[in-house]
């Protein structure tokens, strides 16, 4: 895969050498995770930088459930030590990358879960996961009719009947 570059093993810190973070989910579950795993998240990285500046570490409260958080941690653990192009802020992705096979399996969840994960990924600023979820959602609605799309995306038809018949909202494509 062109977008995944394995870093030389010797540079991957051994287990236990990373410091621990305490994450608290919205359902008040306390989850301890290695800082190194979560470094993919720009949000967490910024928090950690803050800790280092003030020499004070505290729990990080997150606005989503432990179920979702565990999923995100699973993702981050999987790609631990990998360089993903999207997560490197200096390297603009050269194009749309295909859904990685593992991601495809990992994101084989119902649409509610998928929307929760993408929201969490956005909050945590994990671009690679946002991108994978976006592609997965796009796959779900590919080739669907407008009515089916409403179902999948969880939106309601709020056009007035008049507007619905107006050309700017009615599409045959």
């Amino acid at each position: 895969m062109p977008t995944i570059v394995s870093v030389d093993d010797s540079t991957v810190p051994g287990e236990g050498s990373s410091r621990l973070l305490l994450l608290v989910s919205s359902d008040n579950k306390h989850i301890v995770v290695e800082e190194d795993i979560m470094s993919r998240s720009r949000f967490i990285s910024k928090q950690v930088e803050g800790f280092e500046a003030t020499s004070q570490r505290h729990a990080i409260l997150l606005p989503f459930s432990s179920f979702v958080l565990n999923k995100v941690i699973e993702y981050c653990s999987h790609y631990r030590g990998y360089y993903l192009l999207e997560d490197d802020p200096d390297a603009a992705p050269p194009g749309r990358s295909p859904v990685r096979e593992w991601d495809q399996e990992f994101l084989d969840v119902d649409r509610n879960m998928l929307l929760r994960i993408i929201k969490a990924a956005h909050y945590l600023e994990i671009k690679s996961l946002v991108g994978s979820c976006a592609r997965a959602i796009a796959d779900m609605i590919r080739g669907k009719t407008t009515e089916e799309m409403r179902e999948i995306l969880g939106v309601e038809n709020d056009f007035t009947p008049e507007e619905e018949h107006s050309p700017s909202s009615k599409c045959t494509g």
């Binding site: 929760r116 590919r142 939106v155 038809n157 909202s169 599409c171």
Partner: protein
């Protein structure tokens, strides 16, 4: 609780939408308001949709998609269209048989009325002129009058958003507004919505004058001096306010909210006079920004202040000289005036008055707080350019468009002249050497060149001569210049109308 795409931040939703193929994007467009708005506000997505709609999108197969060769040809024609005037398409419109009305043209949309045989009912026709160059199919919609009535005063606004017309029966006159939706991607799906005049609280006798953007301007009654009525037709708010203006013909509102009108035309004791007013906030504390691009407050608290008044010059001294030829340009205050030189020896003088009026007003407003500045006609020479003395023996018509003026054929001549002063097109023409370049002096401008500001960009102009096709050369024609070209409507007796669009810009 079920989650929805709408819970996501816009940025993330756009990320999803951008991975979609164009067909899926179009289906998404129609799901709900929020996604509709999101897609409509994304330049990248709109660009994709536009490319698809015009058959120019690579890597997609769709009903519109053109072969690569055709796409290449179209791109080349697009470039070439800037360089010369030429006919792009001509359509015979058999369903227009019997139409007898000067059509209103805006862009590639033509509206007109058609009277039925018993002459009790007229219907409104809206025609979208097909354009191969822009991949627009020709379509039309008919709006039959709901009850026996005549339609008059048909007007189509520059945004092609609104059709204004009067309905006249033996018992009432009614001004109607009808919104027009034209969807270029699905031209079969046209729609005419409507707003009824009664709901807008206007006097029964109100005469429609002009519409620009959200604003309608009307004169409330016949003949006497009344303040004009401004109406925000989208919100239904109206207000009659400000200085009374003499009811005159040809009141024009432009997108910078300046109002041009002629007074004294019906008064033999007063010379005809062109006035240009600026709509300004009623509260002086709300100072007008120097750029003059202010947004009208919703409550429409406005006074109409007369900022300039210009007697119409020697050619316009006689009230008899008027032949209904007053064409303001909505872009740069270019006003084309046509006058009959004398009744015994018919001939026309065409004055094109280009004025940096808005800037001028702004400068004077900030000077001494004077509410009104009267600018004599001659003084306009230093603030505008006047191209006089382009004399035609008998000009059929003249018309102004966006930074452009069209002068019609004279006599039996089949040559039309288009004066173009859009800086971009002028620069292109000069670079390519494809058009005659006219400098101020050549067109008789009282143009001094000093302290003129944007007028430097108005001059030089390019004058393009345009030869009518052989079979149209001796016909009675109506012509109107619009952003996309010149639209000709031929009246073939009472039987047929041919519409031609000459696209020379995109």
């Amino acid at each position: 609780m079920a989650r929805s795409l709408l819970d996501l931040p816009n940025e993330t939703s756009l990320g999803i939408l951008e991975t979609l193929k164009v067909q899926d994007l179009l289906a998404c467009y129609a799901t709900c308001r929020r996604l509709h708005t999101l897609i409509a506000s994304s330049v990248a997505l709109q660009y994709t949709i536009e490319l698809y709609a015009s058959g120019m999108l690579d890597g997609v197969r769709g009903p519109h998609t053109l072969p690569v060769q055709d796409r290449l040809d179209r791109l080349r024609r697009h470039t070439a269209a800037w360089e010369e005037l030429r006919w792009t398409n001509r359509v015979s419109l058999p369903h227009l048989i019997g139409c007898d009305c000067f059509p209103k043209v805006s862009g590639e949309v033509v509206t007109f009325q058609r009277d039925d045989e018993d002459e009790e009912i007229s219907s409104l026709y809206v025609q979208l002129i097909p354009s191969e160059l822009r991949a627009i199919e020709g379509k039309f919609v008919i709006h039959p009058a709901p009850e026996p009535s005549h339609l008059t005063q048909i007007h189509l606004d520059a945004a092609q958003e609104l059709i204004v017309f009067r309905e006249r029966t033996t018992t009432f006159h009614r001004l109607r507004l009808r919104s027009l939706f034209v969807d270029e991607f699905h031209p079969s799906a046209w729609n005419l919505g409507f707003i009824d005049y009664e709901n807008l609280g206007l006097p029964q006798q109100a005469m429609f004058q002009d519409v620009c953007g959200d604003l309608l301007i009307m004169s409330p009654g016949p003949r006497e001096a009344y303040p004009p009525i401004l109406l925000n037709w989208k919100s239904g708010l109206s207000e009659a306010n400000g200085a009374a203006v003499e009811f005159g013909t040809w009141m024009f509102l432009d997108d910078r909210h300046t109002l041009s009108f002629v007074v004294g035309k019906n008064n033999p004791r007063q010379p005809a006079c062109l006035r240009i007013s600026a709509l300004a906030p009623a509260n002086p504390a709300e100072a007008v920004p120097p750029s003059y691009d202010f947004v009208l407050p919703e409550c429409l608290k406005h006074n109409i202040m007369v900022h300039g008044e210009a007697p119409l010059g020697p050619n316009f001294e006689s009230a008899h000289a008027w032949r209904g030829c007053f064409y303001p340009d909505r872009a740069d205050r270019l006003i084309t005036l046509r006058a009959l030189t004398s009744r015994s020896a018919p001939g026309f003088i065409i004055d094109v008055l280009a004025s940096t009026f808005t800037r001028y007003i702004a400068a004077h407003k900030s000077a001494a707080g004077e509410p009104a500045v009267i600018v004599p006609w001659d003084a306009w020479g230093t603030h505008g350019a006047r191209f006089t003395a382009l004399e035609f023996p008998a000009v059929s018509w003249t018309s102004s468009g966006f930074r452009r003026a069209l002068w019609g054929r004279s006599g039996d001549s089949t040559v039309l002249t288009v004066l173009d002063y859009c800086p971009r097109r002028v620069a292109r023409a000069i670079a390519r050497g494809t058009a005659t370049v006219l400098h101020g002096a050549e067109v008789g401008a009282q143009y001094t060149g000093a302290d003129v500001g944007p007028l430097h960009t108005l001059l030089p102009c390019i004058a393009t001569e345009f030869v009518l096709p052989e079979d149209l050369a001796h016909e009675r024609l109506y012509a109107s210049i619009c952003e996309d070209g010149v639209v000709f409507v031929k009246r073939h007796g009472q039987l047929d109308i041919v519409v031609d669009a000459c696209a020379y810009t995109i």
